[in-house]
Symmetry: C2
Subunit: 194 residues, 2 copies
């Protein structure tokens, strides 16, 4: 066979550090057993002092069973001094921006691998504008959360700019965090006072 009549099979199954064979195997597994797609993620939190609290991420449920991450992840959250905290960690709203960047970036790498595009650099900055007149209860017309979030990507890879832009567009179409932020999620709050 000459190179031109070789079947269109990629000899390197891992692109951009992404194991595309495993990815397609996962998709096939869920396709054949849709209930395997039900996941529950969890975060545990313990108040420390003032606006300082500490989150722990360790356990989750997926593909029919209880699971744990390979290690327990611990994150402090706090407010900076200007917002009456001691800056022991980012503010909660900053974690939301981090989550959005992380989700769009992971998706983009997945999609690039599936499309055989080799990425060399992906950077982003997410900004969120918020008017504290809402959260401080000073103006009833101002919401508590962000009024606007903007994501700015810089992407380099072995494809035309148009193709690189399409990766971001497809990632946005399939992003869990983008969906959570742009389409509301019902939240139930329960309180136990032992």
């Amino acid at each position: 066979m000459t190179p031109t009549d070789m079947p269109d099979i990629d000899v390197d199954p891992i692109r951009n550090g992404m194991d595309t064979a495993a990815l397609f195997a996962t998709i096939d597994a869920v396709r054949h057993a849709p209930e395997a797609g039900h996941f529950q993620f969890r975060a545990h939190n313990e108040w420390v002092r003032g606006t300082h609290n500490r989150g722990t991420i360790a356990d989750f449920f997926g593909v029919g069973e209880e699971r744990t991450h390979e290690r327990t992840f611990v994150f402090n959250a706090d407010h900076p001094a200007i917002l009456v905290g001691q800056d022991n960690g980012p503010t909660p709203v900053e974690f939301v921006l981090h989550a959005l960047a992380a989700c769009l970036t992971a998706g983009l790498a997945n999609i690039a691998a599936a499309r055989r595009i080799k990425l060399t650099e992906v950077r982003s900055t997410v900004t969120g504008d918020i008017d504290l007149n809402g959260i401080l209860g000073l103006d009833p017309d101002v919401r508590n959360g962000y009024s606007q979030i903007t994501v700015r990507f810089t992407i380099k890879g072995d494809a035309r700019p148009e193709k690189l832009r399409e990766l971001v567009e497809q990632s946005r179409t399939r992003s869990a965090v983008y969906d959570v932020i742009t389409n509301r999620v019902p939240v139930v709050v329960e309180v136990d006072t032992p």
Copy 2:
């Protein structure tokens, strides 16, 4: 003056580690100069490999000027092996749950301080249910993000259970992250391909 006719002023300005004088000073400052309430938070992200990427939180804008946290906070995000990652950090969607717990908890401590309730313990677990048939593109009727989020608090303090529950209710009413998750935020995505 006898203790009974002393004015109702708290001699301990810091409750639950919260500097209530500073809190009220901040509220007053924004009341008199509403534009001081405009903040912009930011997260920067760099793709590492596969679903692994790294976020940095350092700079923000508030009360009229550029500011930086006392140190730069760095967070890895990744997928676990079962979701074709290498578990170098929590998944992006787990950071969202952490953000919600952190925001409700910080608010609760603020409100308890203002109401002169001394907290001795605040713990919470946030769970988010998600069906990956959405994100994997297998079922067009399934959304990409969480279908439901549940927050379970355990709170102890020197007030009746009813008063402790009211702290959570008021915190929810004033939570930026709760607002972001339950009421959509517009997100703009821009791409530069140098």
